[in-house]
């Protein structure tokens, strides 16, 4: 990484910013992005830091119980707290800088693919390394809260932050990790307003390991996120991942999942809600490199007002990955005339003897469902709210971390004026259960 960092700035300097003419940036609105408005720094003073940590605790509390808490502010580690219930030696939390990365673990999975990747490598200052020892079992989630923001500097430039997280789950270990990405409260330092955040998370799931992972993006509406989540899943290992996109003005998340060991599986879930002028932009890759690997992707979102979403996903089955199963589903509810959803699923299959499917839907709330509910005496507006709440409830039920499913439901309900989430639904699957999850996939 040190070497890469040295080169990254030069690469970034010569790289052009992406344009919408490139397929992976199509529909994104990147052409209107002005990078020169931002500057990398950590403007929070020591006094502000303790307030930031309190804010982080409140956010972390929404996940429910936890076994450890890590807080970063504009990419710098501010707090590491490990609960007493964590068995000694099972969880290792390090703050690694690029200067101290003897194993070259940083950036191994998330190799830069565009100017933002180079930018991340050039300006990333500290990384959080979570190591979970082989065969260790953590009962409650580890929660990381990344807060970004701050007022503009003397030249009027906004904060740019580059959080970096590596989760390294040992062989046959089981753990659950939640990352929360939010804006510093306005009161902390200036207006807490617009920020550019380029987070990278790398998930390494050792052979036979079971990782439940979730990230919740609740950035302020003036923020721009260009995020990457890259995972590598070993043999007979499983990753269950859930991304919740609620905040930011423009939020891009690239999810790359490599299945490198025989019998490995991933469940990739995402839920997003667009309001105002928001853009949610998801790019996914399910890369099957080994036999009998399984991946299931389900991304669901609702778009209201003049918001937009982009989903572009690829399933790649390489020619040694026989017996692979791969599914990709993207469902979009378009709730108002001004909202738009683009959905582009793709397959690249280089092997016979595989099962592969993709499906996507874009449309308003189903008319037959509304009629059925209305025939029971339910008012049309209430019927629509029930269906939309149900759309998210179904996803929340499958959340690998139950608290995150509930959090998403509560946020969606409060933003759209939906009924509070029903808790009479069946309990979500236990963390660490099999990679296929359950429910009505």
């Amino acid at each position: 990484m040190r070497q890469r960092r040295a080169e990254a700035w030069e690469r970034f300097a010569v790289a052009d910013l992406p344009t919408e003419a490139e397929e992976v940036w199509r529909y994104s609105g990147i052409d209107t992005f002005d990078l020169d408005r931002f500057s990398p720094r950590q403007p929070v003073a020591a006094g502000g830091l303790s307030t930031a940590i309190s804010q982080a605790r409140l956010l972390a509390g929404r996940v429910g119980e936890r076994c450890a808490l890590v807080v970063t502010v504009n990419g710098q580690v501010a707090e590491i707290e490990i609960g007493t219930g964590v068995p000694a030696g099972s969880l290792d939390v390090e703050q690694a800088s690029v200067k101290q990365d003897p194993d070259h673990r940083l950036g191994e999975l998330a190799t830069p693919r565009d100017a933002f990747g180079h930018l991340h490598d050039a300006f990333m200052t500290e990384s959080v390394l979570l190591g979970i020892r082989s065969k260790a079992r953590l009962d409650a989630p580890v929660v990381l809260v990344h807060l970004v923001g701050g007022s503009s500097d003397a030249e009027g430039l906004r904060v740019a932050a580059f959080p970096h997280t590596v989760i390294d789950l040992g062989e046959s270990a089981g753990a659950s990790v939640v990352e929360v990405l939010g804006s510093l409260e306005p009161s902390l330092d200036g207006d807490g307003g617009p920020a550019l955040v380029v987070p990278v998370t790398e998930l390494l799931v050792g052979d036979g390991g079971e990782l439940s992972y979730a990230n919740v993006q609740v950035l302020g509406s003036g923020c721009v996120q260009v995020g990457t989540q890259a995972s590598r899943v070993g043999s007979a290992a499983s990753l269950r991942s859930f991304s919740v996109g609620l905040g930011a003005g423009y939020a891009r998340l690239r999810t790359d999942s490599d299945l490198v060991g025989e019998g490995g599986s991933t469940l990739l879930l995402a839920g997003y809600l667009g309001t105002g002028q928001q853009v949610h932009d998801f790019r996914t890759l399910q890369d099957h490199r080994a036999p009998r690997t399984r991946s299931e992707l389900l991304f669901k979102g609702a778009l209201s007002d003049a918001s937009r979403s982009v989903y572009s996903g690829l399933i790649r089955i390489r020619n040694q990955a026989h017996g692979a199963d791969a599914f990709q589903t993207n469902n979009n509810l378009v709730l108002s005339e001004g909202a738009r959803a683009y959905s582009v699923p793709n397959l690249d299959i280089q092997e016979n003897d595989v099962r592969c499917s993709h499906a996507s839907t874009v449309g308003p709330v189903d008319e037959d469902q509304l009629y059925y509910l209305e025939s029971r005496g339910i008012r049309p507006d209430a019927a629509e709210r029930l269906v939309v709440a149900g759309f998210f409830a179904e996803l929340a039920q499958r959340s690998p971390v139950p608290g995150v499913g509930l959090w998403m439901e509560q946020e969606v309900a409060s933003v759209l004026g939906l009924p509070a989430p029903a808790r009479s639904l069946p309990a979500p699957t236990r963390a660490g259960a099999d990679g296929n999850g359950e429910g009505n996939g």
Partner: protein
Amino acid sequence: MTYTRAMHALELSGLRAGVAGREVLEGIDLLVRSGEVHAVMGPNGSGKSTLANVVMGKPGYTVLGGSATLDGRDLLDMATWQRARAGLFLAPQYPVEVPGVPLGRALDSASDDENALSRLAPGEIEKEAANVGLDASMIGRSLNVDLSGGERKRSETFQLAVLQPRIALLDELDSGLDVDGLKAVARRISAAVGEWGLGVVAITHYQRLLKVLEPDMVHVLVKGRVVASGGPELAREIERSGYAAFTDG
């Protein structure tokens, strides 16, 4: 449980309706009062489901003429939910799945007190579920999702029992049900006729539902018109000889 008994009536008069530019109902007259069971029988494509959906106000159907009233109030002027609140209930032939919306929550939203379920005495909900052989856990589960055809019909009957409508339109309630299920739902509806004077329009192909849910009147619908009306013996005749006698000429 106590019930309020009052006389209610669904009255269709010369009702004509079409779908996709084609006239399907060519003038239907029907009067269904509290405590009466009317069977509407007919071959495929005779307009039976259209009749149910037009009365309930399903989008996509156009009323071309005639009237439909409940207790003298013009149904055709009301939205679907208003018809339901006026006391109309439709058990559709194919109840749709509504993912993520629990049955109990839907019932609670069916009236403005947001508490349809709690109107029932403690234990009553479970009893109503048991009456039709519906697993009580279904109340907390998504409407119709992953339910068999038979379970959906049991659920419809359960919902009817909870909502206590004045007039129920049952569109092939018997389809998808096994023998025991058919008996259970038919018994529950028969009981409702006695308990709160439910008026029933039972749309069906076959006589098997009517063996338990005995009709006062049987109407034969062919090509959008009622071609014959009579007592229960008419259903038996159809069971024996089919619709040929009604469709010829």
